[in-house]
Amino acid sequence: MHQLTMNVPAAAHGADPAPDPSELERIAMAALEVGRLLMETGARAEIVHEDCSMVARSFGADRVDLRSGHASVDITVGRGGSTITRTMEVGPHGVDHRLGLGLRDLVRRIQQGNLTPSEALAKATGLKRDTPHFPPWLVALASGIACAAFGRLLGLDWPGFLPVAAAGAVGQAVRQVLLRRLVNVFVIAASVAFLSSSLAELGASRAGSATVNVAMVASVLMLVPGVPALNAQSDIMEGHPTLGTARGVCVIMLLTFIATGVLLAQVLLGVQP
């Protein structure tokens, strides 16, 4: 799914009338790499377009056209009479705040004229590799606690709190393993939802909880694609309806698979929905 979205006016600085084609190639690839990584870290389309254009213009392009889809980003860069168009595939969309901030900082450094296109490309690739992440056990634990806290906001009673936290943590740990094995995200959503809600039901009912249904749903709330749902709306509001719609459809699909996992657990464990 693609959309034509941006025409950047000619840069003020001096344009080279006959640039080396490999120079345009390097500019396009550096801009695309930044755009691809921003998409994968959960940035809105407007930010992706703005930063890609900024990178290309900072390297001397006087014409930049972009279109962003859910699975790829395309760019046309031009200087003088020469233009080239390149496409780059976008990987799975996630949320990675620190990588996003690192990329935005890199764009600022490019804008200041401190880097060449090749250096910028290498730095962007390096950022993906070197950005620090929390240890997986901590992410699992925090996700479990977040699910239980979310459950309290939904009316989960105290006996159900620890079982939901444990079930959410186990679910997130399994999710991380499956993501590393490149299993389909929708299959992961259904499988983890089934596992977490089953564990939550077994734990909460043994702990004497009177809100087993809430516990089952609360234990899978780390799977709910909240950021993509908000991005979908922002993209549509900011003039990128195609990408916004694609994101919205993915959100609905994910919710359906999550609900299927929970429903299967309810049927197998004999819980009334």
Partner: protein
């Protein structure tokens, strides 16, 4: 309007815990996690006060998202371009995942072979679906209003 202080504290506390837990999942840095917690607490406090004043869930959620979005903008000098992401993290505990699940369960139930009261199930499903749409819309609109009114040269 009478606010149960203990209930308000409960909502703020668990809003903060949920937002900072999701902050870890979204790879916010250690320094930013406290701001995620503050953002979640502000969102849930505002929403609870608004609901206590008999506002609907959707209107209260809109007010909460706008409050968090404006708070992020006010602290922009201190937080930099992370301010918008922190506002989003604070709103995550208000995303109606529970209603979404109930709406989809309702749709599944409507396709069962022998239904007792299909009209009632359809109405409940419709109600949950509309609440999901309006609540997500309220969060998005609340955050966007702050972003677009206090727009800066560089988006965040």
């Amino acid at each position: 309007m009478t606010i149960d202080a203990l209930y308000l504290l409960h909502q703020a506390l668990f809003g903060a815990v949920a937002a900072s837990g999701f902050g870890v999942l979204f790879n916010f840095g250690w320094r930013d996690l406290r701001w995620c917690a503050a953002s979640g607490a502000l969102a849930l406090t505002t929403r609870t006060i608004a609901q206590d004043a008999n506002w609907s869930l959707e209107a209260a959620t809109f007010a909460a998202a706008a409050a968090v979005g404006c708070g992020g903008r006010l602290l922009r000098a201190r937080l930099g371009i992370a301010s918008n992401s922190l506002a989003v993290a604070g709103c995550i505990p208000m995303v109606p995942g529970f209603f979404a699940a109930q709406a989809i369960f309702g749709l599944f139930e409507l396709t069962a072979p022998h239904l007792n009261d299909p009209g009632k199930i359809a109405m409940t499903t419709m109600e949950f679906s509309l609440r999901v749409i309006f609540t997500i819309g309220a969060i998005g609109a609340g955050l966007s209003i702050a972003t677009h009114i206090f727009r800066s040269e560089v988006h965040d």
